[in-house]
């Protein structure tokens, strides 16, 4: 179409300008939202460099047991420390073996769960993907139902069985049920379903056995899904609260996820530093694998 009349041209230009303005407003709004989303994480990080006295001075009125002692003239989050101090980190890392122990507990539960759940799930997903008859479909459906059950349901059988096996109140009662959680099986099966059958048929023609097809075709194809599953399991279990509360009695076995709330109550000074140290493994994994993570999340959800 030719733009002959200048009035029409003007109109078009105005429409275009409006569009740009609208985009800008949208962008600004989203930027504000994004900053709000980052705010809790960033302020936790910044505040971890405050010395204990500065924390009590700033937040004493709103934290810990002794909040009543502090005058109430308003609490504001500090985003720039008066003085950068490594004191809370020093306390956490070198002066209180108890905290480090809890951190070690967390790792002791989460790392085996993550690795073994993924391993077991890879095998199972292959079993579900390669051939599927009526029985297997039914079993898979059972897995999906089990996956959807909340902890309030599955923890009861977990509790019963850990009493039977005599592993109640030991690390095993957390780790073993964790390994067989069906979440990874579901996600990996959905991913493997997308691998074209042509590959496996070609391999079969060349005389490859099932194990060979699994290791040489399926595993390399699933690389990013495996990574995503590892991350998701890790994040979820690093956060565990329900299982240790139900399955563990001894406080020295508690992971840091629960113990942090104790620190928050009693030792506000190091609480921010503890929170940051607790986040670091997740942060590293997130930065290292965000791309895979997105891809992995997406495969689970879109056909």
């Amino acid at each position: 179409m030719r733009k002959t009349s200048s009035g029409r041209y003007e109109k078009l230009r105005r429409a275009k300008r409006m569009k740009i303005v609208r985009r800008l407003i949208l962008f600004a709004a989203l930027l504000v939202a994004a900053v709000l989303f980052l705010f809790p994480t960033v302020s936790t990080f910044v505040n971890s460099f405050l010395s204990e006295s500065e924390i009590m001075e700033s937040y004493g009125a709103a934290l810990g047991d002794k909040s009543a002692e502090y005058a109430r003239d308003g609490v504001v989050i500090k985003l720039i420390p008066d003085k950068v101090s490594g004191e809370p980190y020093e306390v956490f890392l070198f002066q209180s073996p108890d905290y480090l122990r809890k951190f070690w507990n967390s790792a002791l539960y989460v790392v085996p769960i993550t690795l073994f759940q993924t391993g077991v799930a890879l095998l199972a997903a292959y079993g579900f993907t390669r051939y599927r008859g009526k029985i297997r479909s039914l079993v898979f459906f059972g897995y999906v139902v089990l996956m959807l059950m909340p902890y309030q349901v599955t923890l009861v059988p977990n509790y019963v069985v850990s009493k039977w096996l005599g592993i109640y109140d030991t690390p095993w009662s957390i780790v073993l049920p964790g390994i067989f959680s069906p979440f990874a099986v579901y996600l990996l099966t959905r991913y493997m379903m997308r691998i074209p059958t042509a590959y496996t048929e070609a391999a079969q023609l060349d005389g490859a056995g099932e194990w060979r097809i699994f290791t040489r075709i399926f595993l390399p194809q699933c690389r990013s899904a495996i990574f995503a599953v590892l991350l998701l399991i890790f994040f979820d279990n690093w956060n565990m609260v329900e299982q240790p509360l139900v399955l563990l009695e001894k406080e020295e076995l508690y992971p840091l996820s629960i113990y942090l709330s104790v620190i928050n109550q009693n030792e506000v000074g190091v609480a921010f530093a503890a929170a940051v140290i607790y986040t670091i493994p997740c942060l590293l994994l997130f930065l290292g694998g965000e791309k895979h993570l997105e891809e992995g999340i997406v495969t689970g959800g879109v056909k």
């Binding site: 302020s43 095998l123 073993l176 942090l260 986040t279 997740c282 959800g301 879109v302």
Partner: protein
């Protein structure tokens, strides 16, 4: 011999092709019926058997840690005591419904779910639609929204306490406008605080799922709609909605699962004995675990399992309806 092998493989390919012809659009995932067993070659049959080996670790673990004890749970729910109990029918269920702690916990949990799940789904969809456009720094924005996924709840509850404490930041801010302080954790507002924490944590994940679903809508369809004069709203409600309906279901189910884990947030913020609007089913379960009341625990677990199944079945039926619409139009 090679000829025979070829023939067999040929037959196998034939079967595969026929399966695909039967259900072309759904792919392998939904192929429930392989060709009749009689017609399978011995080689294929052996292969099928071999793959059970891959399933065995997972199945035996699930059977031991979830299925077998669940049978016991079922038994407990219908008997009067764990040892030598008598069959009591639904007495345990009746008792549970008369238990005030249980009804309070169940009601609170349902209220939280009814608010949190739709909010998480709709807001995430809204975010995904906004981020569909070309914007500067789009990947930064997406990362920012996804980042709470990796932050452990335990690490951020401290900031939440600073923000929402009676002497906290929010109240200080509100005082600037002359609004009197609200005790966020010990008033009906506590639900709102927990809701915020939940949305903060889960919106990004849902958003990623929706973004991918929207990107998979065929461009031609949208162009046709545009040619026929459809505005952005019309385009969304008449075209895209049909392509993302299965994702909506999936996101709803995921949000439901994560909303059932809201106990984590509540526990870390307020401990074992929260304000009464925050007393959730997991609090009830924890207390019952402590008193080792197997009957009560089992009954509650069975009831919950039943409720969850019903909700999920309803969701699936709804999705099937929506999906059908897309195919008919």
């Amino acid at each position: 011999m090679t000829k025979e092998k070829e023939k067999r493989n040929g037959a196998k390919f034939f079967f595969r092709r026929r399966e695909k012809e039967k259900k072309p659009e759904e792919g392998r995932e939904d192929v429930l019926f392989l060709p009749k067993r009689k017609r399978l070659s011995t080689e294929l049959r052996n292969r099928r058997r071999a793959t059970w080996f891959f399933l065995s670790p997972s199945i035996s673990g699930v059977a031991l840690f979830f299925v077998a004890p669940f049978v016991m749970v079922f038994y407990y729910a219908f008997t009067s005591s764990a040892v030598n109990g008598e069959f009591t029918g639904i007495d345990n269920f009746k008792a549970l419904f008369q238990n005030n702690a249980f009804t309070l916990a169940a009601a609170n949990t349902v209220i939280l779910l009814v608010i949190a799940v739709p909010a998480a789904v709709l807001l995430a969809l809204f975010l995904a639609i906004l981020l569909e456009r070309e914007l500067p720094g789009k990947s930064f924005l997406r990362s920012a929204f996804l980042s709470p996924l990796m932050v452990p709840v335990a690490s951020v509850v401290l900031i939440w306490q600073v923000l929402f404490h009676q002497n906290g930041v929010i109240n200080t801010f509100l005082a600037g406008f002359g609004i009197t302080a609200v005790d966020w954790f010990h008033s009906p507002w506590s639900r709102f605080v927990v809701l915020l924490l939940y949305l903060w944590k889960n919106l990004g994940y849902n958003m990623i799922l929706f973004t991918a679903a929207i990107a998979s809508v065929p461009k031609e369809q949208l162009e046709i709609a545009e040619l026929e004069g459809a505005g952005p709203f019309r385009k969304f409600f008449s075209v895209k909605i049909h392509y993302i309906s299965s994702t909506v279901l999936f996101v709803t189910i995921l949000s439901l699962i994560s909303a059932m884990k809201i106990f984590r947030e509540v526990y870390l913020l307020t401990g074992s004995y929260p304000y009464e609007t925050l007393y959730l089913l997991q609090h009830f379960m924890n207390n019952t675990f402590r008193s080792m009341d197997y009957q009560k625990l089992s009954t509650a677990a069975i009831l919950l399992a039943l409720a969850t199944s019903v909700v999920i079945a309803v969701l699936f039926v709804v999705e099937r309806r929506l999906g059908k619409d897309a195919k008919n139009e």
